[in-house]
Symmetry: C3
Subunit: 339 residues, 3 copies
């Protein structure tokens, strides 16, 4: 792939300051870009980009006195992402259903599916148009995968689960494993059948090794546009709202409801059966132990406002010294009092 | 499946107040139940159930003045679980060994096994009667799976490991991966061969993406009736007692011994080479750093009694203000003293 | 396998005190060793070994008055590890490529590979000499696996990734899943293509269920000799130095650089885009939120020196009582002042 900077500027909608005829043959980050590459820079990396080897640099409007050929756009990250799609050659997979795949009985297959060797689509499942199933995927009985979804190797969608349009399910993710439900009688735990399912709405991304448990009854739901990082646990009967971001190794306990546009940093945990309001951010390691309102920025375990958490952390640093001084003070006062 | 409330009452052993002839065609939770469904309610949900749409409500003995047809039983959760089994149609799988499975040499297969496409049973393994192996399961050489166990897709039981009767191993779980053991000489780590195995006793449930590491020598043991949630790590040579509950994302370090009936909440961690006494509960996020007695309820990192943890959390909230006041106090006293 | 103690002493380079003609038929730990076994003991287990049933005990030089036949060596752990290799019969796998494996087009296969049933090597991949691929492994397009590497069941190495010599990749690990990168516009998250790869250098060990994300651009790198335990997350564009140890359930956020010989205990977390210096140890549960120098021993969240962390933990125990006394003190002083 080769394009002039002029062609690139037209593709992403940008303004060139410098030589528009430069031929760009690759994209890379500031450090890695060579003399025929385009890179991009936003704060705080603009200074670093001034001396990089790239042929040209994509920048946000407003950066003055840039010593290299520059392509100004409104959102460099987003524009660069579009270019990456353009420049990266797509992997080619043989169209259709591999002879080494297993398709059960009464399965509905859409148009232009790619089903690779050793994928299994079990009886009564429905696979939408242009769905891609990598090797060793297992789509359970009566499961439904809507169009344009990609499921990577060794991922499972268990029986009766529903995956929306344009979803991405990464390697070894498990959709619809049994929820962790038992009744206990005299110390012996008996399984409560988990007869519900999981519904992933459209445009959901599920990370490698995520486990989204099926509901005991009804559905565990992941709202449209929600993106989940690796090694995340979502318990049975959770309802996660649309457009959330859930960073790696977070665990949401069963029957918890989360509003839209909530971000959970890495290694967050929540108890079950709570409501977490929309439009909020929970910093990494937050431990959420009760209902939460909308529109908050929180941290800590138990969770508190991020500002309070910072104050608490600051004062904790003084704790050992304060404790020492406090004991001296006590002794001193005891002496005064005994006089 | 349709049953009269009378038939259901006889099945679970209950007492009807209201119309025993009602025909029940489904089961659901309070919110989801429709006019032909049975639901159940226990505290604190009994008030909510009074106005639900369900045809009838299963209740614990002792609830008076309930405005709908009620079925009183001793343990509504357990009785409802039994009904769920009854009402949920079982998935049908072709009996026997799929022609697309791989069965190694010198393998012993029990009666009425279900071995699905692309399952692999490696040489010298033993598969008990009525065992179910989903697609993409791998049973290693000399491994033994006892009767009535179900192993879901992409799970692995590595060589020489032993799985008891009626176990459930969820998708992508790994039984018998190498323990994390190295000797270090001048900064270079050399692998210590992990030549032991894993023994899962009867009625164990292993969650999706659990990793139960094989012992360096001897066996890592999970006691009978213990149930493990998703994404849990059990290190090499651990001995977990019977009837424990281990919630998601917990990690038990190597060579730790745990007594019977211990509950670990989510995201708990322990150091290795310790003894954790029986009949205890560790709250979510507990960090256990030494031997623990029997019969405790603990929380925090480092772990302490749950009551102490609550007190500490309560006083930590006052810390920033106390620190501020303490510094004012110091200044004031310094002034007094200088007079 | 049977060997005299004399033969064993010659193999590991040791000195016998006692009967050199004893025939050893097995190896086990102190507790498990029977009367024909050799065991080993180092502090603090030497006392316990004096009364064990083993035929002989391997000990470090310097242990005097040992009541059983002893084999003295410089490093008992390392010597015993070598013996375990010798005594444990290797599993036998049919040489070559299983007829039930899938080998894509334009694949290069080295000499003496073992490729088991239902393994998939996709188009243009390169597999080095003596590589072992267990069932249900997936090697993506253009991926390269160098010689003597072993990849266990259901592990994935995605397209364009590179795995060095003598690596071990455990069951269900995922190398090269997409990094978690999105641009957000009016609350809607759009995927940034992750077009980089992962490079595992030589002698790397990757635990079960680890996810090593591919770089957005360029490479995520795991340095030679680094060993990673189970359920670990390594974000996109991380550069992990050589000879590190990363214990289970740790998460390293994207674009973080780690020096050589760094140990992360279990359940550690880091923010992204930081530099963590070489030759350091981070205790379990450390939460690293900024750049870190070389040669430190740290703990806590936010991380601090281990010594400070211990002091803080010690003073925190006194906090509830200090708070109570502080309030009494305040009242008392208020009374004085009002006089």
């Amino acid at each position: 792939m080769k394009k002039t900077l002029q062609e690139i500027a037209e593709y992403v909608g940008g303004r060139i300051v410098g030589d528009a005829s430069i031929v760009i043959s690759g994209l890379d980050n500031i450090e890695g870009a060579g003399e025929h590459d385009l890179t991009f820079a936003v704060d705080p990396h603009i200074e670093e980009a001034k001396t990089c080897r790239a042929a040209a640099v994509m920048l946000p409007e407003g950066v003055a006195d840039f010593p290299k050929t520059a392509l100004y756009v409104e959102e460099p990250r987003a524009a660069f992402a579009r270019l990456l799609e353009l420049f990266t050659p797509k992997l080619q997979f043989p169209a259709g259903v591999s002879e080494q795949a297993h398709i059960g009985k009464d399965v509905k297959l859409g148009k232009d599916v790619v089903i690779m060797p050793f994928a299994v689509v079990d009886d009564h499942a429905v696979i939408g148009d242009r769905v891609t199933l990598y090797p060793h995927t297992y789509i359970g009985q009566y499961a439904e995968i809507e169009e344009d979804t990609v499921i990577y190797s060794s991922a499972t969608v268990r029986e009766h689960c529903h995956v929306g349009k344009r979803c991405v399910i990464h390697c070894s993710a498990v959709i619809g494993s049994d929820g962790f439900g038992f009744t206990t009688h005299e110390g012996v735990h008996t399984k409560v059948p988990q007869v519900g399912n999981v519904v992933l709405e459209d445009d959901v991304e599920i990370g490698a090794h995520d486990g989204i448990d099926r509901a005991a009854m009804g559905s565990t739901v992941i709202g449209h546009g929600t993106k989940i990082d690796n090694l995340v646990h979502i318990g049975h009967n959770c309802k996660i709202g649309p457009n959330c971001l859930i960073v790696a190794q977070t665990g949401i306990s069963g029957s918890t409801t989360v509003g839209h546009n909530v971000t959970f940093g890495g290694q967050v945990g929540t108890v079950g059966h709570i409501n977490i309001g929309a439009n909020s951010v929970y910093a990494a390691r937050s431990g959420i132990i009760g209902d939460m309102p909308e529109g908050v920025f929180c941290a800590g375990f138990p969770v508190q406002s991020h500002a309070e958490w910072l104050r608490m952390q600051a004062s904790m640093k003084h704790l050992p010294e304060m404790y020492k001084k406090f004991r001296q003070l006590e002794k001193k006062l005891a002496k005064y009092e005994s006089k």
